[in-house]
C-alpha cells in the first residue's frame, strides 16, 4: 500500500505550547484520490494541512512525498487557504491572481505574453470563473473567490491539491458548484484532492476516502468503515451517535462528561 502513495504521513505528532494538537497521525493519499479531511472545528484539520505544506514543523514523525521526505519547496502541492487577506480595493483582478499561481514566488519582473494569457483564460474556464476574469478579486463572493483560488492553485499543475474549509460560509448551490468542479478536475487532471470540512455531507458523492479528525487523532478508510458510532466514539474519547436522515449523516456527541451509563442513570433518576 505504501509504495504507490503520493503522500504519506508517518506517525506525525505536533505539540504546541504543551498541548497535543496532532497525536500519532498516519495515512496515505494515492494519485487522483479524493479524500475528505473531516472533523469538528479545532480538531487539528488546519494544522494537519500546514504540516503537509511544510508550514508547521512536526514534533515527531515524517511527511513523505513519493516515499521521500518532503522537500522544503515543492511545486507538486497546490494550496487553497480558507480566507484571503485582501481588501476590496486592491486592484488584483481575477486573472492577475491566477497568473500569480504560475510564478508569484519568483523575483524580478515579467512581461505579459499571449501564451500566459491563454493559459490563464483556459484555467478560468475550467473552474467556471471566466465571467468575472476582469473583476477585482476582493469584490467577489466567497464561492467565486474559492473558484479563483482553485484556478490559482491548479495552474502550476500540482499532483496534490489541499483545500482548507473551502465550503465554509457558502450557500448550498455554491457548495455543490465547488464540489463538482473539484471532482471533475481531479479526475480530468489526475490531481489528488485533500479537502477539509466540518460537514461531510456535501462531499459524500465524490469522496473516495475519509480522514476523520477528532481530538488530534485520525480514523482513515471508506466512509462506511469510518463513520460508525464505535469508531468515532473511540476517536472522540466520548460517546457519539451517528444518525442517518434522508441520506444525510449527522454525528452527534453526548453532552461533555456524560457517557452512556450516566445518561441511563440520570434518566432512571428522573423516572423515580
Amino acid at each position: 500500500m505504501t509504495s504507490d502513495d503520493l503522500l504519506r504521513l508517518q506517525n506525525v505528532s505536533v505539540r504546541l505550547g504543551g498541548r497535543d494538537i496532532l497525536k500519532d497521525v498516519s495515512f496515505g493519499i494515492r494519485p487522483g484520490q479524493f479524500t475528505g479531511l473531516i472533523g469538528p472545528n479545532g480538531a487539528g484539520k488546519t494544522t494537519l494541512l500546514k504540516v503537509i505544506l511544510g508550514l508547521q514543523p512536526v514534533t515527531s514523525g515524517a511527511v513523505l512525498l513519493d516515499g521521500e521526505p518532503r522537500p522544503a519547496r515543492d511545486a507538486s502541492i497546490g494550496y487553497v487557504p480558507q480566507k484571503l487577506g485582501l481588501e476590496p480595493d486592491v486592484p488584483l483582478r481575477v486573472r492577475d491572481v491566477v497568473s500569480l499561481g504560475l510564478d508569484g514566488h519568483k523575483f524580478g519582473i515579467r512581461l505579459p505574453s499571449r501564451a500566459r494569457r491563454e493559459l490563464v483564460s483556459d484555467m478560468l474556464t475550467a473552474v467556471g470563473a471566466q465571467r468575472y476574469a476582469d473583476a477585482r478579486v476582493g469584490e467577489l463572493s466567497g464561492g467565486e473567490q474559492q473558484r479563483v483560488m482553485i484556478a490559482h492553485a491548479l495552474i502550476s499543475r500540482p499532483r496534490l491539491l489541499l483545500l482548507d474549509e473551502p465550503l465554509a460560509n457558502l450557500d448550498i448551490s455554491s457548495e455543490q458548484g465547488i464540489v463538482s468542479v473539484l471532482a471533475r478536475l481531479a479526475r480530468a487532471e489526475q490531481v489528488a484532492v485533500l479537502l477539509s470540512a466540518h460537514d461531510m455531507n456535501p462531499l459524500m458523492p465524490v469522496m473516495d476516502r475519509i480522514v476523520y479528525v477528532a481530538a488530534g487523532r485520525v480514523a482513515v478508510g471508506d466512509t462506511d468503515e469510518v463513520v460508525q458510532p464505535e469508531v468515532l466514539s473511540r476517536l472522540y474519547g466520548q460517546h457519539v451517535d451517528v444518525i442517518r436522515v434522508h441520506g444525510r449523516i449527522l454525528v452527534v456527541a453526548a453532552p461533555e462528561g456524560v457517557d452512556e451509563d450516566h445518561a441511563v442513570a440520570e434518566d432512571a433518576g428522573v423516572m423515580r
Binding site: 500546514k50 505544506l53 511544510g54 508550514l55 522544503a72 519547496r73 511545486a75 502541492i77 494550496y79 487557504p81 484571503l84 487577506g85 485582501l86 481588501e87 476590496p88 480595493d89 486592491v90 486592484p91 488584483l92 483582478r93 492577475d96 491572481v97 500569480l100 510564478d103 508569484g104 514566488h105 519568483k106 523575483f107 524580478g108 519582473i109 515579467r110 467556471g128 465571467r131 468575472y132 476582469d134 473583476a135 477585482r136 469584490e139 467577489l140 463572493s141 466567497g142 464561492g143 467565486e144 473558484r147 490559482h152 457558502l170 450557500d171 448550498i172 448551490s173 455554491s174 458548484g177
Partner: protein, 304 residues
Amino acid sequence: MHYLFEPGFFASGPVHVALAVGTVIAITSAVVGVFTVIRGQSFAGHSLADIATTGGSGAFLIGVNQFWGYLAFGAGAAAFMEMIGIQRRRGRDVATGVVLGAALGLAALFLYLGTQYSSTTGASFSILFGSIFVLTPSTVPALIVSALLALATVVALARVLLLTSLSPDIAAARGVPVRAVGAAYLMALAVSVALSAVIIGAVLSTALLIGPAATALRLAKSPLKAMITAAGLGVAAIWLGIVLAYDSFYWPPAGRGWPVSFFVVTLIVGGYLITYLRRDPRRVGAEQAGPEQSIDAERACSPV
C-alpha cells in the same frame, strides 16, 4: 503659458535641481506607496515619518545634513518594527500614544536647541515641512541613488509582495522567505519616507507616499497600471507644486514664496477627492462580473 510660468522659472538652477530630484523621489514614493496600501502598512509609513522627524532634527542639532538623520532613524525604526512586529494592527495604540509621542517630543527639543545654537531660522520649518528649493548640492547624488535602490527593491519584489498579500501561507508554502521579503520591503519604505521628508518635510512625507498610491488604486485595474498611475500622479503633484510655489513668490505677502509642501499636499488631496466624482470603481467591477450571472446570486433563489 506666461501666466503659469513666471519669468525666470526655466532659468533657475534650484528649480532644475528641484524638478530632477523631485521627479525621481515622487516616482519611488508612489511605487513603494502602492504596496504600502496593498499590504495595509500605511500606519508603519506614518510611524517611520514621525521617527524620521526626530532623526532630521537630531542631524540638524549636530550639524549633519538632515537627510542622513531621516535615513538613519527611519531605517533603525524599520529594523526595530520588523523585530517586534509592530507594523501590524496589534500594538498600534501603544505605539501611537507613547513611542511616536516621545519621538516628536525629542524632535521638539532638538529643534529648539539647534535653533538656539545656530540661529538658522528656517531650519525647523524645512525639517518639518520640507525644503526642495534649498537642497544641498552634495546630497543630490545620494538622494538619487537611494531612490533608485528603493525603487529597484520594490520592483524586484513586486510579484512576491502581491502573492504574500494574497495569502502569506501560499507564499510560504511555495518557498517565499516571507519574513525576509517583509523586512526588505520595510527598509525600502523607510528610505522612501526619508526621501519624501527631504522634499515636503518629515511630518508630511506620508502624503507623497500614500496619497498618489491611494488615488491610483481607486482608478487602476491592475497592479502594474496602479504603479504607473501612482508614479504619474506623484510626479504631476511635485511639478505643479514646484511651479505654483515659484509663482507664489509674486503673491502676497510679496517677495516670500509659499511653501512647496502646501501645494504638493493640496494637489494630492484634491486628486484623491476627484476620484470620488467618478462612479465607485468597486461597483463598476461588480457590475462587470454581472450579479445576475454570478454563482452566488443563486443564493437568492435557493430555498434554504
